[in-house]
């Protein structure tokens, strides 16, 4: 981006004095990037950035965490997981606390690491905690493909895989006051930008597909604020996002997963908002069906309202007092990409 163009964008967004607009960044990576690049200090107060339900650990219900813990405590089992899921509260405790009392949990940085672990320790049953959105699902499909083709006997997945369009539709249908969406670039790398076109048209609302640098986010915001209304998808991340997306990744996902209802923390079950392992591979599923119970560890927690963009973290009575990154009461405080965590670290 030329510095003149950046200046033009920045001054437009700084001086914007039209109708107030609520722009939702759906994805947790955008929430974190907005904080790190100080965007709120640049743009007009009339442009209100709202965080949405796009941090995977934040939307994982307590029943899923409870199931992971009970599996991890069974003799011979080991849970392999990404780091930030370890501290998400279940109904009673987190995986991290359960680990302290003997649950076997291994932190990995890629799902494929579990293949190596399973080969090294053939007597252990590994269960991968497969949580995430469209960005992570191709790797889970690849993991399943590897398990099947190499006939690995000691890996299963406990899945809570979610997809974006249905949850965004849920927000719009519930009347969330949103004037435009900052759409996650990495999701669109896989799905293609056209995944948001039906929603844009049906609700007459703009989507701007954006990368994750400060400049890229500013450019996408500029697109949303300048056109204001109009149901269309604008691709501001063309160097990696196409309209069709990654067709080979999509067909691998399609081989192993099929659309299903999914339970979202604080929002309940949303039809067609998830993926489950296909019946013919159900022997690789560690029991993901029916994990729909969602018990709040602390009744006063407003994570559900925050995830839907109806409240900001500061509206929550627990925020920064009982609920801190060291003592998270709700999932939004756990992950670096969780809305409450980002607020406490950057806007307090």
């Amino acid at each position: 981006m030329s510095s003149d163009y950046l200046k033009e964008i920045t001054s437009y967004l700084r001086e914007y004095d039209g109708d107030s607009m609520n722009i939702m960044e759906v994805c947790g990576s955008h929430t974190a990037a907005i904080a790190k690049s100080g965007i709120k200090s640049i743009i007009s107060d009339k442009i209100n950035l709202v965080s949405g339900p796009g941090c995977p650990v934040c939307v994982t219900p307590s029943a899923y965490v409870d199931k992971l813990i009970s599996l991890a405590l069974e003799e011979g089992n080991c849970i392999a997981t990404f780091g930030d899921l370890m501290r998400v509260p279940g109904s009673e405790e987190s995986l991290n606390i359960a680990k302290g009392r003997g649950a076997d949990v291994e932190m990995v940085y890629s799902p494929m690491d579990v293949v190596e672990l399973a080969k090294k320790n053939p007597d252990k049953n590994y269960i991968f905690a497969a949580v995430g959105f469209e960005t992570t699902t191709p790797v889970y499909a690849l993991l399943l493909d590897t398990i099947v083709s190499e006939k690995i006997k000691n890996i299963k997945l406990l899945t809570a895989v979610k997809t974006m369009p249905a949850v965004i539709e849920h927000l719009l249908a519930e009347g969330a006051p949103i004037d435009g969406f900052l759409a996650p670039g990495h999701v669109c790398v896989v799905t293609g930008s056209k995944i948001f076109t039906p929603l844009a048209e049906k609700y007459d609302i703009p989507f701007a597909v954006s990368g994750f640098s400060g400049e890229e986010i500013l450019e996408a915001l500029y697109g949303l604020v300048k056109i204001k209304k109009g149901g269309r998808v604008m691709n501001f991340y063309p160097k990696v996002v196409t309209e069709e997306g990654n067709t080979s990744a999509k067909s691998l996902i399609d081989k192993y997963f099929t659309p299903s209802a999914a339970c979202w923390r604080g929002m309940g079950i949303i039809k067609g908002s998830g993926l489950k392992i296909r019946d013919e591979y159900s022997y690789l599923d560690a029991g993901s069906e029916g994990l729909n119970e969602d018990i709040k560890k602390n009744k006063a927690c407003l994570c559900d309202q925050v995830l839907m963009g109806k409240k900001t973290p500061k509206d929550c009575p627990l925020f920064g007092k009982v609920c801190t990154p060291l003592t998270p009461q709700g999932a939004c405080m756990v992950s670096e990409e969780g809305c409450c965590h980002t607020w406490i670290a950057n806007y307090r």
Partner: protein
């Protein structure tokens, strides 16, 4: 000498004597320690700086260093942060049975070499063996002298002061995390004693107001604590923070923030702005300061809350930074 440490090595009897003779006395050889008294008698100074620290890192050996080098660097750099020149160190070893003797030898050797490099003498030591699984823990105490009659304090940052760092951020943190998570990379720990840098700054009469080594919690945590201690506002610039391309990529991969990545051989140095160029030149001329940079300034505190830390971002935004929250866990998508 057996191949692994056993409970007998902690008996206080013959086997303990063998362990001390074969490994510690050999490497830490000096007149004071060689007397093998119950306490070391050393020359003193009117006013001294003292510190203590424990080192429990896993793995014990990692690219660029080991727990032996780390314990000397950590102790020495803490003393230097007060403007004291490190002189004496004591060390207590807690060994778990099963520790390989060869590993212990390498670590002790590395410790002795680092002590020589940092110009400190290991004057007393102790060894205990406990049941366990081959682990090794070291507790140290360090004594330094105020050779330059300057006691540096975290409270002394003043309006207009220049904020410098002695090099690139995050190498130690990335090395340890990379080892623990088996992420292949060519990053090496920056663990180093910063005696040369601090000695040269004080010797050349740079008006140093604050020194602090950047360890756990990373640069942002250290700066925020210093801003609070001196009740001032610090403003740094994202683009001036030195980060190697390797560490930047590593952080990108795991969703970590270089501002919160720990080091074991880097310092924040806050000086009267008039001395900023001279301080930078001295740091850059030192072995462990080649990537030193001026990253920002202390500004008059006009915020309601005392002790604020801001960074100017590359797109002209202002980010409000706090101390590290939680543990800096890798993200998942």
């Amino acid at each position: 000498m057996e191949k692994v440490i056993t409970m007998a090595h902690g008996s206080g009897g013959k086997t303990t004597g063998e362990l001390i003779g074969a490994i510690f006395a050999n490497e830490f050889d000096n007149e004071i320690l060689n007397r093998m008294e119950d306490a070391a008698a050393v020359d003193g100074s009117k006013r001294i700086a003292m510190t203590t620290d424990s080192f429990v890192v896993t793995p014990l050996e990692y690219p660029g260093g080991d727990v032996g080098r780390l314990c000397i660097c950590g102790t020495v750099n803490d003393l230097l942060s007060r403007g004291a020149i490190p002189k004496y160190i004591t060390c207590g070893f807690i060994l778990e049975e099963g520790l390989e003797t060869e590993t212990l030898k390498r670590i002790v050797h590395s410790m002795a070499e680092t002590a020589r490099e940092a110009n400190v003498i290991i004057v007393a030591g102790d060894t205990k063996v406990i049941e366990g699984n081959g682990g090794l823990y070291i507790n140290t105490a360090g004594v330094g002298f105020f050779d330059y009659d300057r006691e540096i304090s975290a409270e002394d940052a003043k309006d207009g002061d220049a904020i410098l760092v002695s090099g690139t951020m995050g190498e130690h943190h990335a090395t340890i995390l990379g080892s623990r998570m088996s992420i292949a990379n060519d990053i090496e720990s920056d663990n180093a004693p910063l005696t040369d840098i601090v000695g040269a700054l004080l010797k050349n009469k740079v008006d140093v107001h604050v020194l602090r080594d950047i360890t756990r919690g990373g640069l942002a945590t250290v700066l925020k604590e210093l801003a609070k201690a001196s009740e001032s506002t610090f403003v740094v610039e994202d683009e001036k923070i030195p980060v190697s391309p390797q560490v930047r990529d590593f952080c990108g991969l795991l969703g970590l923030d270089p501002y919160y990545m720990g080091n074991e051989g880097k310092m924040v140095c806050i000086v009267d702005a008039k001395y900023a160029d001279k301080a930078l030149e001295i740091m850059k001329a030192s072995k462990y300061g080649q990537d030193a940079a001026l990253i920002g300034y202390v500004q008059k505190n006009e915020a309601a809350e005392k002790g604020m830390l801001y960074s100017k971002t590359s797109i002209g935004g202002l980010r409000n930074l706090d101390i590290l929250q939680g543990e800096g866990l890798p993200r998942i998508c």
